[in-house]
């Protein structure tokens, strides 16, 4: 790793499960053996407005409390993207759910990857609910910072025994989507 600490932010609107997503991703990162800090900022905006979870990981001890300049930003809604886009570190990666986002970042110093995550969840998995798990896989398809096995384990631990097969499928589908987008856009 080139730097001390990688920061990730997961944002969207309340109900999309982005905070839970940050916990799942942080769990997967922990399984990789990194030092991990997961956190969230609460606020009135958590209901309906922009909701956000965060994860930091490093080989070294982390004293930092909150993500300030994410290296990786997952945005699941336009409002959330607009709110956080300026905080992304130059050279950072921005992942957009193009189902909810149509105005993409104008910044040229970040790499933007987009896919209609929610639409894929609805059409291929039957429920918008799986967009969250799909997004986790999508992130990993792009940045590949955890093993798929750990990511699925982390997801299943956090959701219990609910819709295990569909969730597993969602992560795989998201991952493949990520790989495809990466190939197309690079």
């Amino acid at each position: 790793m080139e730097q001390d600490r990688i920061e990730m932010r997961f944002c969207g609107f309340g109900g999309q499960g982005v905070v839970l997503g940050s916990v799942i991703y942080a769990t997967a990162l922990a399984k990789e053996g990194y030092n991990v800090v997961q956190s969230q900022v609460y606020g009135i905006e958590a209901r309906g407005g922009a909701s956000s979870g965060e994860a930091m990981y490093s080989d070294k001890p982390i004293h930092h409390l909150h993500v300030t300049q994410p290296d990786i930003l997952l945005a699941m809604s336009q409002k959330a993207l607009d709110k956080f886009i300026d905080t992304v570190k130059p050279g950072g990666i921005v992942l957009c759910d193009s189902f909810y986002i149509d105005q993409f970042p104008k910044r040229t110093d970040v790499k933007v990857y987009k896919a209609p995550l929610t639409e894929i969840a609805i059409t291929q998995l039957g429920k918008e609910l799986f967009a969250n798990a799909l997004a986790m896989g999508f992130i990993n398809g792009i940045v590949k910072n955890v093993s798929q096995e750990h990511l699925i384990e982390a997801l299943l631990e956090s959701i219990g025994n609910k819709a295990v097969e569909q969730n597993r499928k969602a992560v795989e589908l998201g991952y493949e989507t990520g790989l495809k987008v990466l190939k197309e856009q690079n």
Binding site: A26, A30, G33, Y34, V36, Q40, Y42, H64, L65, H66
Partner: protein, 381 residues
């Protein structure tokens, strides 16, 4: 090597530490950001034969945990600032009657309802001075998820050892944060249980301290025939109300003196790069993490900065602080309030040492850069 670390939330770590320490009873009342502590214990205590009850209010939950402890069952309650206000009368009762209990205060922004999910360090003085009378208190203040686990166990140990309520002070940010930690090193951690009387019932005086200044209270419901009164009025060795000048002084000396006498055992602090530091940051809780980063960053730039972090907030580690700041030209006190810790720091640093407060109380956590800026300004002078 197998990865034995798990991602655990701060509030969860507190409940795991409590169960490890032997807590088998929790009474609480919902309040953000402490609610998860009651939630987790309602799920986990029954698994080990313990009980959780959500009482009708904060006052009742404080009363119920003392009631359980009187029966010899280790007990914990958790709240936040506004709820802590309500708990104060019964916390004072526990201090006066020398009943061990652990009270968690996961701070939020106040006064009053303030901000439920907003991080602040506004209760530093309240936890020590919020009660009537000269009421002693042990307050511990961890700054990471792992340290919450360890410090919760220590809180119970100190409570049982010194027959005193112990407050575990936490920050919203740390309570809600998740970190992946390895707790296997605490598998065989020492667990301390209160001492029982060593005299037969007919000779027993519940409030007669031993050579260490500690009382040995026999749990109620005992089969050995120890019968006595526990009550919050001033009392002599027999526990009965007594307002004679000698008894009053004696009871206040006993409850306060036992902590003073054993302060070196109660004190815990962390020193970061202090040996040759000429600029010392004094910080507690979440702010100390930013301070650690700031100190490391300054060292890389050749500035001799260090951090003194009280983990035991009360009784205040005055002598260690004096030693840590002996050769400092400046002491910086960043805290998320309008200035509380800084007063104690001023009291225990040399008059010639400049003490600089850094107060942030807008709900955002103090970041390393903010502390670095003050350190740089001081070092350039």
């Amino acid at each position: 090597m197998a990865n034995t670390r798990k991602l655990i939330q701060g509030n969860k770590a507190c409940t795991m530490g409590a169960i490890k320490a032997g807590a088998r009873f929790c009474a609480s009342y919902p309040i953000t950001p402490a609610s998860e502590i009651g939630e987790y214990l309602s799920e986990d205590l029954p698994k080990v034969g313990g009980k959780f009850i959500q009482m009708e209010d904060e006052i009742a939950s404080m009363g119920a945990v003392i009631g359980a402890s009187v029966m010899g069952v280790k007990a914990i309650t958790a709240t936040s600032g506004a709820g802590f206000d309500l708990k104060q009368e019964n916390i004072a009762y526990a201090a006066m009657t020398e009943i061990p209990v652990v009270i968690v205060d996961v701070q939020r922004s106040g006064p009053s309802t303030g901000g439920a999910t907003v991080c602040a360090q506004g209760d530093l003085m309240q936890v020590k001075y919020g009660r009537s009378g000269d009421c002693p208190m042990i307050v511990l203040y961890p700054n990471s998820v792992k340290e919450i686990y360890k410090t919760t166990i220590r809180a119970f140990n100190l409570a049982e050892k010194y027959m005193s309520p112990v407050i575990l002070l936490m920050d919203e940010t740390i309570g809600h944060m998740r970190e992946n930690i390895d707790l296997s090193e605490y598998e065989n951690v020492e667990i301390i249980n209160r001492k029982l009387p060593d005299v037969p019932p007919e000779e027993y005086k519940p409030y007669e301290p031993d050579a260490e200044g500690i009382v040995h209270l026999m749990p109620f419901g005992n089969k050995e025939g120890y019968r006595y009164v526990i009550q919050g009025m001033h009392h002599g060795a027999d526990g009965m109300p007594n307002l004679s000048p000698a008894t009053l002084q004696c009871s206040l000396d006993r409850i306060n003196g036992k902590l003073d006498r054993h302060k070196e055992d109660i004190w815990e602090w962390e020193a970061v790069d202090l040996d040759d530091a000429d600029i010392v940051v004094v910080a507690v809780g979440c702010v100390s993490r930013s301070a650690t980063e700031a100190v490391h960053a300054m060292r890389k730039q050749g500035i001799k900065a260090g951090l003194f972090r009280p983990i035991t907030l009360w009784p205040f580690p005055d002598e260690p602080l004096m030693k840590a700041t002996e050769h400092a030209k400046a002491v910086i006190v960043p805290e998320m309030n309008m200035g509380q810790l800084v007063h104690k720091v001023k009291e225990y640093t040399r008059d010639c040492t400049q003490v600089i407060p850094l107060n942030v109380y807008d709900g955002t956590v103090i970041m390393p850069e903010q502390i670095e800026k003050v350190i740089k300004e001081v070092s350039e002078k």
